[in-house]
């Protein structure tokens, strides 16, 4: 809470950047991001590319948009002290729902978007209710729901299905000036979540429940409701990512979510951004930084034509090293 008060004292004229930098857990990830950008610029300069050129920046934004949207949702559940391992299969499911309902026709777009969001909200509700009412650990609950969704996908689909009309594909590929529409969508989702967390009662309650559910309950917060809402919002974010991926692929695909590794990768991005896995500490700003960090890293690897297996190794090392550094910071404070 003290963090929030400090935020409030930042002069109204202060830029967004200054506000974000006041978000304490997010600071290291942005320092790392700046260092990585400098490194990337050097690598590209030596390698004969232009790192800060429009093409590369647009590439980074496009690659990170889907993961970014999922990770914003994941931030909300993790802050509430929960976790969601079902997002990857949910993304596949919503991409299929979208593409099947659209069936290549413009007229199907509103219905398809509504259906995809409704399906994802429903799955989120199920996740939340299993965690709160049946008191199943979120790890098992969301893993179980993920298996159920996977079973449904395996039973119905062998490969890509449905198709998306050209008008909807603008979402995935178009740009407004230098900014891809997908990146704007990501920014809108992130800004929404940031406002929710820092300006609304629900946001404060999410922090309170994640910090200590028992204390929150004794102070009159309906903790179960907060956790359920966090799960619904997280799943809706995954649904939005599913829409975005459907528009990129032009169809729905049963493996688009798992191929992207969105479940574990989104959790990795969240904790890279300084949000505590145990809940109650962190924020969206850090997550955005975490996602950008992973994307910049990816673009440097691509420029150097590093083998994809080596990428995994480096990612693993960075993830563990970052968390070790955060843990050190917490102990000395």
């Amino acid at each position: 809470m003290t963090q929030q008060l400090k935020l409030g004292r930042v002069p109204a004229g202060g830029s967004l950047l200054r506000r974000i930098s006041a978000d304490r857990p997010a600071r290291p990830v942005y320092v790392a991001l700046v260092l990585l950008v400098v490194l990337g610029w050097l690598v590209f300069a030596l390698d004969g590319g232009t790192f800060l050129g429009q093409e590369n920046i647009v590439g980074i934004q496009q690659r990170s948009a889907a993961l970014g949207i999922v990770a914003v949702g994941q931030t909300l559940v993790i802050l509430a002290g929960s976790l969601d391992l079902s997002v990857a299969y949910l993304i596949s499911l919503t991409s299929l729902v979208t593409a099947e309902i659209m069936a290549g026709a413009d007229s199907g777009v509103p219905a398809a978007v509504a259906a995809a969001l409704a399906v994802s909200a429903l799955i989120g509700l199920v996740n939340g209710l299993i965690v709160t009412r049946l008191r199943v650990h979120a790890f098992i609950a969301t893993l179980g729901v993920a298996l159920v969704v996977r079973g449904a996908l395996d039973a119905r689909y062998d490969g890509p299905a449905g198709s998306v009309p050209e008008s909807f594909q603008h979402l995935g590929y178009d740009r407004i000036g230098p900014l891809p529409v997908s990146a704007l969508l990501w920014a809108a989702v992130a800004a929404g979540a940031w406002l929710l967390l820092s300006r609304t009662r629900l946001g404060y309650r999410i922090y309170a429940v994640g910090g200590d559910a028992e204390v929150a309950r004794l102070s009159g917060v309906r903790t179960e409701r907060v956790v359920v809402i966090a799960h619904v919002l997280c799943s809706v974010c995954a649904g939005i990512a599913g829409l975005l991926l459907a528009s990129r692929l032009g169809a729905g695909a049963p493996t688009v979510g798992t191929d992207g590794g969105y479940d574990l990768e989104s959790i990795a991005a969240v904790v890279l951004g300084g949000t505590a896995l145990a809940g109650g500490r962190g924020g969206v700003a850090g997550t955005v930084g975490g996602v950008l960090l992973l994307a910049v890293l990816d673009s440097i690897f691509n420029q150097l034509e590093v083998n994809s297996f080596a990428k995994d190794v480096v990612r693993g090392v960075i993830l563990v090293a970052a968390l070790a550094i955060y843990a050190r910071g917490r102990r000395t404070r």
């Binding site: 299993i130 049946l134 008191r135 199943v136 650990h137 790890f139 098992i140 609950a141 893993l143 179980g144 729901v145 993920a146 298996l147 159920v148 996977r150 079973g151 449904a152 395996d154 039973a155 574990l264 959790i267 990795a268 904790v271 896995l277 145990a278 083998n307 297996f309 080596a310 990428k311 995994d312 190794v313 480096v314 990612r315 693993g316 090392v317 993830l319 563990v320 968390l323 070790a324 843990a327 050190r328 102990r331």
Partner: protein
């Protein structure tokens, strides 16, 4: 032990259900074949139990199994005399991976979920970087005997499983087991009463790494070399342990129940197969049953504690 009872009832029920559909199931050969098929998962669950009861997670076991099998195939490359040194190397590698997991988690205070997730990425990346994308080489016949051969009527893997189970039960009854559960229940209280929490947790991770190595030896012989051999095993092992009534977060549950959980999962797969629900719907049924089992366990728990208190 009272908390562990439901899983044995469920397991017995499933075995009876299988026997009803397939009367041959309870004959020694068929039953031993079932145990043999279940052995790797049961061993992994036993290892995972130690980590979970100490209050941590080990997500790296699946990729560790894959890594071990791929490494063994590349190093042995079909030669008989390389078998035993490579087996020793696999065991050592499992222990080292566990040591690193444990040291990073306890000394650097990285949450074990992240430590072992990082290890998962590193192992799966490094192994395929080394072999250039796909497994190479082949296992020797001696190596494969451990997974598929048998001593008289009893498969080697069943004997190994019995030895592992005995060792695991012994370890939980020993001082180490008690301090481990104490550390998982409340690490601060345990530390204040003289438990070296960091050390026992690190040993727990090493046991998990060791169990992954043993499971890899069995799976390599049984299923052969592939890049998919360990895929998803970490989640199956954790599920099995939780099915056995061991609480995520640590401090409660028994290793026998965790192993029974693994048998239950395997029996469930067998039963689903018998009813022809294979492939597509299998994960869905599995998901529902896991949630239901854990939910029932969670509901029952407070009542059991109240009864114990009165």
């Amino acid at each position: 032990m009272r908390r562990a009872l439901p899983i044995f009832v469920v397991l017995a029920g499933l075995l009876v259900a299988i026997a009803v559909v397939n009367p041959y199931f309870l004959e020694p050969t068929a039953f031993l074949a079932f145990v043999k098929r279940a052995a790797p998962l049961v061993i992994l669950a036993a290892g995972q139990y130690f980590v979970i009861v100490s209050g941590e997670f080990d997500l790296s076991v699946g990729s560790l199994v894959t890594a071990e099998v791929v490494i063994a195939a590349r190093l042995i490359d079909g030669s008989a005399e390389a078998t035993w040194p490579v087996l020793a190397l696999m065991i050592a590698f499992g222990l080292i991976v566990g040591l690193v997991n444990g040291a990073v988690t306890t000394l650097l205070r990285v949450p074990s979920f992240i430590t072992t997730l990082g290890m998962l990425l590193i192992l799966s990346g490094a192994v395929f970087l080394w072999t250039g994308g796909s497994p190479r080489g082949a296992l020797s016949e001696q190596f494969r005997q451990l997974g598929r051969g048998s001593l008289g009527p009893v498969p080697w893997s069943v004997l190994i499983l019995v030895a592992v189970a005995a060792a695991a039960v012994w370890a939980t009854r020993a001082r180490f087991g008690h301090t481990l559960v104490a550390a998982g229940d409340n690490d601060r209280a345990a530390a204040l009463s003289g438990v070296r929490v960091a050390r026992v947790r690190t040993v727990a991770f090493m046991i998990s790494g060791l169990s992954a190595a043993v499971a890899a030896i069995l799976l390599g012989g049984f299923a052969g070399v592939s890049a998919q051999v360990g895929k998803g095993l970490e989640f199956q092992a954790i599920t099995a342990v939780v099915l056995g009534g061991v609480v995520l977060g640590g401090g409660r549950g028994s290793v026998a129940a965790a192993m029974a959980g693994a048998f239950t999962l395997e029996a469930l797969f067998t039963l689903l197969n018998l009813y022809g629900i294979s492939g597509a719907l299998e994960p869905a049924v599995q998901g529902v049953i896991i949630i239901a089992a854990v939910a029932l366990g969670a509901v029952r728990f407070p009542r059991a504690r109240a009864a114990a208190a009165s």
